[in-house]
């Protein structure tokens, strides 16, 4: 189909419908309201589909849990403070090995913070976020096109590995308009997961639960989850490199920060600085091997984030003491310009004595 001009939020909604999303449950919060509104307009009256503006984010994620129990593709979306409220449900989804797609169009924090884009929910997204020992797949798109593509991918990965998938965007990505092309048509028949609870018809009754009075049983569940996480690490880690081949300095950035960094890198390249980019697309699993591979020939790294250094820790963990890592961060919802970042890159480049 031809490209259309859409906000990131609307593009997620359209991509979700085309991925066979049956249920959307959400609660208003800026800067992701266009997604909820898109689903109210375009999903709520579709055959077999359901849209609810829930009484809270807690209720919305638990409705998603209910819909996932019976095998529907279901999603919710929110922004940072609302995502904190959803952590209870995300933990239950992870524990019960249920698919779901959760979108975080993150904003400045902590607390009520601001409604402006920020990346300060990286820890919350990539370390589980709720109680208990679990992970979710976390995707970090950096354009409206990628939001659409990764929304489809999120439903596929979620079903394949029976794991909640977080799309970690931000207020800029959600609200900016870009041309986008949708690569899939909505399915004729909405998918229903085959292993779901649909009533004990022609089979014995089943239950889905985690609670047990036997710690050994729960330990086994945790082990089984982590075996699957190892498989996901092996199979699904994704990243992009940009002008990294001959680079002396690698900027590591994700999401909208990577988009800003690309502009900055183009501009410093024009002045002859050999700078490249590593952009993780999966924030969990983190592309640690890609970082390690680069470190075989490149010593200098600049981690750039719109927070005080959260993904920085993943780069440090990947490099295991190798390399020279600098950090530049703007927290609280301040959005740096490419020219600001290019000045920062140049400063580090010359300070390190690179030619």
């Amino acid at each position: 189909m031809a490209k259309v001009l859409m906000t990131g939020n609307a593009a997620i909604g359209e991509a979700a419908i085309r991925a066979g999303c049956r249920c959307y449950f959400g609660y208003p919060i800026t800067p992701q309201n266009e997604l909820t509104e898109y689903m109210a307009t375009n999903l709520s009256r579709r055959k077999g589909c359901s849209f609810i503006q829930a009484e809270s984010e807690v209720a919305a994620i638990n409705m998603v849990y209910g819909a996932s129990l019976v095998g529907a593709r279901a999603m919710t979306s929110s922004s940072s403070p609302g995502i904190s409220l959803k952590q209870e449900g995300i933990s239950y989804l992870a524990a019960c090995e249920l698919p779901a797609v959760i979108v975080n169009m993150s904003r400045g924090g902590p607390g009520l913070g601001s409604i402006v884009a920020a990346q300060s929910d990286y820890f919350q997204a990539t370390r589980g976020g709720g109680h208990g020992d679990y992970r979710t797949i976390v995707l970090g798109p950096s354009s409206v096109q990628e939001l659409a593509d990764l929304t489809h991918e999120a439903f596929e990965l979620s079903d394949k590995y029976k794991i909640p998938v977080i799309i970690l965007g931000d207020g800029v990505l959600g609200q900016m308009m870009e041309p986008v092309e949708f690569k899939y048509e909505a399915p004729e028949k909405l998918p229903i997961r085959s292993d779901s609870l649909r009533g004990a018809k022609d089979r014995p009754s089943r239950y889905i639960k985690t609670f047990t009075s036997n710690p050994a049983e729960l330990e086994e569940l945790n082990w089984s989850l982590f075996r699957r996480y190892e498989l996901i690490k092996k199979e699904e880690t994704a990243f992009e490199t940009f002008l990294a081949e001959d680079a002396e300095l690698i900027v590591v950035a994700f999401g909208i920060a990577a988009r800003i960094a690309k502009g900055a890198i183009r501009s410093v390249r024009a002045s002859g600085l050999k700078v490249g980019l590593l952009r993780p697309i999966t924030l969990w699993p983190y592309p640690s091997e890609a970082v390690k591979d680069l470190a075989k020939k490149i010593k200098n790294y600049l981690v750039f984030e719109m927070n005080m250094g959260q993904m920085l820790e993943d780069v440090q963990l990947a490099l295991e003491g190798q390399g020279d890592i600098s950090f530049y961060g703007r927290p609280g919802g301040v959005i740096p310009t490419p020219s600001e970042v290019s000045r920062v890159i140049s400063r580090f480049y010359y300070q390190k004595g690179l030619k």
């Binding site: 049956r22 359901s50 409705m63 019976v70 279901a74 239950y92 019960c96 609870l197 009533g199 889905i208």
Partner: protein, 251 residues
């Protein structure tokens, strides 16, 4: 010889873990009898609570799924919206439905969700050891109201069923008890009606059941039965609080 009483088909052959004199096992059985009578075992999905009834899936022979505390009505909403052909019920205690799950319950009722909630009121948090519930009576001693529940410090017993009855989207609300053969029969009739309403697509039904907890009340089972009659049902009067089903005996 005629067999006039046997285990319901949808009740598993398992030994209940409940304390002697507890109401849960009676209520489990009543729900299973109703599921059998309505012939809905193969499309029923139950949402049991955290709390004493957390192991309900070991007893009910229907599909069931764990819910977080208070979220039963939201989980049931998701199930029913995604799979409208199912018959969905939540089984929730007073701390669950009337404290942490107040919002989910009220709003599910208000959206006219076509689900059935069975609300067990035993005036305490049972599994955690007998702390104050929203339904704890004024003056009642619990482990967190060791001097008795004070109206000024801990508030009044919350009449959640009355609140649900006020919500326009609820279709049927009745308060029952399981402390005598007569009351048990009435409770079964109410549960039957609450499930039938869902089959008929009428909307949100809630059956509150005053249920004895001799362990945390520190009474014998018989004293607990009498306490429901003499004390608890004075604060929580039994009967139909709302019937908007349009049935002959509806209000």
């Amino acid at each position: 010889m005629n067999k006039i009483y046997s285990r319901p088909k949808s009740l598993k052959k398992a030994v209940f873990h409940y304390c002697p004199g507890c109401g849960h096992s009676i209520i489990h059985r009543l729900i299973c009898e109703v599921i059998d009578e309505l012939n809905i075992q193969d499309k029923t999905i139950g949402v049991p609570p955290p709390g004493c009834a957390v192991f309900a899936y070991y007893y009910f022979d229907v599909d069931m799924a764990e819910s977080a505390h208070g979220r039963g009505a939201a989980v049931a909403t998701g199930i029913k919206r995604a799979f409208p052909e199912s018959i969905v019920f939540t089984y929730q205690g007073d701390g669950d439905l009337a404290a942490i799950g107040t919002a989910e319950t009220i709003h599910a009722a208000n959206r006219k969700e076509n689900i059935t909630s069975i609300f067990i009121n035993n005036a305490v948090y049972g599994m955690t050891g007998g702390q104050m519930a929203p339904t704890t009576l004024s003056g009642q001693k619990t482990t967190t109201t060791p001097y008795g529940r004070s109206d000024n410090l801990e508030g009044y017993p919350l009449k959640m069923s009355d609140l649900v009855a006020l919500v326009k989207g609820s279709v049927y609300v009745e308060r029952c008890a399981v402390n005598s053969p007569a009351n048990i029969r009435k409770a079964k009739k109410a549960i039957h009606k609450a499930f039938q309403n869902q089959i008929d697509g009428l909307g949100f039904s809630l059956v509150e059941i005053l249920s004895p907890c001799p362990t945390n009340w520190k009474m014998t089972p018989l004293e607990a039965w009498h306490w429901i009659d003499n004390v608890m049902s004075k604060e929580f009067p039994l009967g139909v609080l709302k019937d908007a089903t349009g049935a002959k005996d509806a209000d």
